[in-house]
């Protein structure tokens, strides 16, 4: 950041010098719209509004500019002119006022600003990405990827539950790389869209074209690869594309809702390739991160969210960022309707009304699913056996009943074949303890929970 400020300073100071050496008319016509993009290896990259400016500055003022820049930083070797619009802060207020006097509704274009050449949604940038303990590793890895695409971590595999910001992160990588180097061919796709491509190519006998298409990219970003599960032809094509990109040091980024080892029906050669670079998970944001995310999103909507309210929302809504966003939208909408800010009770009400209620799962269901997961007969859970392969699922069932469904200890005991409540307490405590330092158990419990949803 400081470097960026310095670069800006250099150009600002140079402009002061240039202003003295050219006529005022000339200065305000040709130099007002310029900005500095970057300074690299002694070359200063100046952003100009169009080709007219580029040609004119290069033709007529190149020496003046170079002299002024050398005066400020002596190691300047050259100047390059790049046609680029300066990124300005959007004049939000102006737009708002414009809208109120327009009685016609607007076409819903805003959601369709996706660039068709690379499929990237410009909305997803690192500026709006909140980094917290839950995703800092993934963020660091993505920064490393940006620094040296195709070299540091290739492929980068990011996994995590739905609504944890995977798509945001991987699209931000694409957008950032595009911003840094416009000539890079970047392509974002979902595995589902990739599948459609392959299927229609097979139908039309143009599979070769699809191969060519995917092989030309410098950066390939594929979202939700778990959907490749069981689709052999797609996996095969992806395998070949992967190899050809990988050999040419092209960056590949994948995302999935689970670790590659847990994606079922995935050929081993693809699985091992997913793991070749870097596999990182993004978990559910912690409380502080949730507050930060709420604030960022609120600022994005030009909405002032008080500390107190953001704390309350973050407390009430756990997990999923999408839920958080939904609640926030609801709060903004209600505030606008009411005309005054909401109090804590209003917020609690909104949260209660909007979060989907926990699905009712019967004990029988729970037992069935858990026993299926551990591959034991569900009837043995109720029996008095102390076999190791039965005890663990039984304990997990008890733990889940207590934790997720808030059933009392005696009832749990009673439901699971008339056990004493102390047995149940012991089991719950045991699982709780083990969860703290046994990641594989954590994963198992998480997966069972996912199955119950």
């Amino acid at each position: 950041m400081t470097q960026l400020v310095d670069t800006k300073k250099v150009w600002e100071n140079a402009l002061v010098d240039i202003e003295l050496s050219v006529s005022r008319a000339n200065f305000s016509t040709w130099f007002k719209g310029t900005h500095v993009i970057k300074i690299e290896d002694g070359i200063v990259y100046i952003g100009v509004p169009s080709q007219f400016y580029k040609d004119w500055l290069a033709d007529k003022h190149h020496k003046t500019i170079l002299r002024a820049l050398r005066g400020i930083s002596p190691n300047t070797r050259g100047v390059e002119y790049v046609i680029a619009r300066e990124e300005k802060k959007k004049p939000k207020t102006e737009r708002k006022s414009g809208r109120t006097c327009m009685p016609s509704s607007e076409l819903p274009l805003a959601e369709h600003y996706i660039n068709r050449a690379d499929n990237l949604n410009p909305r997803y940038t690192f500026n709006t990405y909140v980094v917290g303990p839950f995703n800092e590793l993934a963020f660091a890895a993505s920064q490393a990827v940006i620094k040296e695409p195709g070299i540091t971590y290739n492929p980068l595999f990011i996994y995590g539950n739905t609504g944890c910001g995977k798509t945001h992160l991987i699209q931000a990588i694409g957008n950032h790389l595009k911003h840094l180097n416009n000539s890079k061919k970047i392509f974002y796709t979902t595995s589902e869209r990739f599948g459609t491509d392959i299927v229609s190519a097979i139908q039309q006998n143009t599979i070769q074209n699809v191969k060519e298409k995917y092989r030309q990219y410098d950066v390939l970003i594929m979202d939700d690869v778990q959907f490749l599960s069981g689709k052999d032809k797609m996996q095969e094509e992806l395998f070949h594309i992967f190899n050809s990109l990988y050999e040419n040091n092209k960056q590949i980024v994948f995302s999935s809702d689970r670790h590659p080892s847990y994606i079922s029906d995935l050929t081993d050669r693809l699985r091992s390739r997913f793991g070749q670079g870097m596999i990182i998970d993004v978990t559910i944001p912690d409380h502080e991160s949730r507050v930060a995310i709420l604030k960022t999103k609120a600022a994005h909507h030009n909405f002032l969210l008080t500390d107190e309210l953001s704390q309350v929302i973050a407390n009430e809504v756990e997990g999923n960022i999408r839920d958080l966003e939904g609640i926030l939208n609801r709060v903004i909408c209600q505030t606008q309707l009411k005309g005054s800010s909401l109090d804590i009770n209003d917020i609690k009400q909104i949260v209660k009304n909007n979060l989907r209620p926990q699905k009712n799962v019967s004990v029988k269901d729970l037992v069935e699913r858990v026993s299926r997961y551990y591959d034991v007969e569900d009837t043995v859970i109720y029996e008095k056996t102390r076999k190791k392969e039965v005890v663990k699922p039984r304990q997990i069932i008890m733990y889940l009943m207590r934790q997720d469904f808030l059933i009392s200890y005696p009832t749990i005991g009673q439901k699971l074949g008339g056990r004493d409540h102390t047995t149940v307490i012991h089991s719950c405590e045991k699982i709780k303890r083990e969860l703290l330092d046994n990641p594989s158990l954590q994963r198992e419990v998480e997966e069972i929970r996912a199955m119950l949803k």
Partner: protein, 366 residues
């Protein structure tokens, strides 16, 4: 500098280049036409830093040289000369002397030093487009482009030669027009965005051409080179929204009517329009009625019942009548179909029997 040229040869280039001049107090030379005489040719150039044009005119009895004179004055002088005369242009001591059989005018010169160079397109691709189709396609949509400068991609015309179809689209987010013109040859090119302000210059030049034009473009600049004309213009960098996704596919009601009837009704309505140009349309398929009603408290109101074939549900919906009227200019067939998506859903206007044009318009908030 000196040259001799027939007035008719000179008139059009002078008028055309004058259109691209601009009054800019920071760079006064932009209000000028640059005249440059080389061996038997006269080059006339002008630019407003968005568009640049250069005309080449064959001339006789030349002495090399280069001057810049006020575009409006020169255009005035040349157009006022009687037709069929021969014009002698010469420069001396700070003036351009325009001499004809009738008399002579002296026009003050500007410094040519500050006159910008017309850029060439670096790299980029070249495609061949039929001039007439290119012009008509842009013309059919350009009025929909936004006037605001906040979103440059919306104040421009999206042009996409896609296979054997030339597609143009423009929207200001309240209405959208798309025109598809079939081409004889297949051309594949990246889409580009022409700033709507520059289209008038481009269209005027294209009017001069019969047959095909070579369009060369890179990401930032587009140029067309003809035997005697060169035009270059800045393109908007950015992404045009993928509007194909918002074109509705399901409708609640549909009305087909004569363009002539609808246009007459809307024209009459403009006299009664309020500040929002609101016209309310009532459709009732059972009674086979299509009623347009416009009311202004201080003027009065007007109601028209149009002959129309109507299917679907009853609907009362308001539109900006200017938006409706705009769409009719680009429609060449006799009748149109308006498909309504329901309250606060866009309506789709299409000419009957011609699928090339479509117009999407949002209703007014009630």
């Amino acid at each position: 500098m000196q040259c001799t040229v027939a007035r008719e040869q000179l008139l059009e280039p002078v008028i055309q280049t004058e259109k691209t001049t601009i009054k800019k107090h920071t760079l006064p030379v932009l209000s000028c036409i640059l005249l440059e005489v080389t061996d038997n040719t006269l080059l006339l150039s002008s630019t407003n830093l968005e568009v640049g044009v250069r005309f080449t005119v064959p001339v006789e009895k030349t002495t090399k040289g280069m001057v810049a004179v006020s575009g409006s004055v020169l255009a005035h002088v040349i157009s006022s000369l009687p037709s069929g005369t021969e014009v002698v242009l010469s420069s001396d001591n700070g003036h351009l002397i325009v001499r004809s059989s009738e008399g002579s005018s002296k026009i003050a010169l500007h410094d040519t030093e500050d006159f910008p160079v017309l850029p060439e397109v670096e790299g980029g691709k070249e495609i061949t487009l039929p001039a007439k189709q290119f012009r008509d396609t842009i013309n059919a949509v350009v009025y929909c482009a936004s006037n605001s400068t906040i979103k440059p991609e919306l104040s421009s015309v999206f042009v996409h030669p896609d296979g054997s179809t030339l597609i143009a689209a423009a929207t200001d987010s309240f209405r959208l027009a798309e025109k598809k013109t079939p081409l004889k040859h297949s051309i594949d090119s990246e889409p580009f965005l022409i700033p709507s302000k520059s289209t008038s210059n481009l269209l005027r030049i294209l009017e001069q051409v019969e047959g095909d034009v070579q369009v060369k473009s890179n990401k930032h600049q587009l140029s067309i080179t003809l035997p005697n004309i060169y035009i270059t213009l800045r393109l908007v960098s950015g992404t045009f929204p993928d509007y194909t996704q918002i074109i509705p596919k399901e409708f609640v009601s549909e009305a087909t009517m004569l363009v002539f009837d609808f246009e007459r009704t809307l024209r009459k309505a403009t006299a009664f329009s309020d500040q929002f140009n609101q016209t309310t349309i009532t459709i009732s398929p059972k009674e086979k009625k299509f009623i347009a009603h416009t009311k202004n408290d201080s003027v009065g109101e007007t109601t028209d019942t149009l002959a129309a074939a109507i299917t679907g549900k009853d609907l009362v919906i308001s539109f900006n009548q200017k938006y409706l009227l705009d769409s009719l200019h680009s429609i060449t067939s006799d009748s149109i179909t308006i498909q309504f998506g329901g309250q606060s859903q866009p309506a789709l206007i299409r000419p009957v029997g011609n699928d090339g044009f479509l117009y999407l318009v949002m209703p007014m908030n009630r």
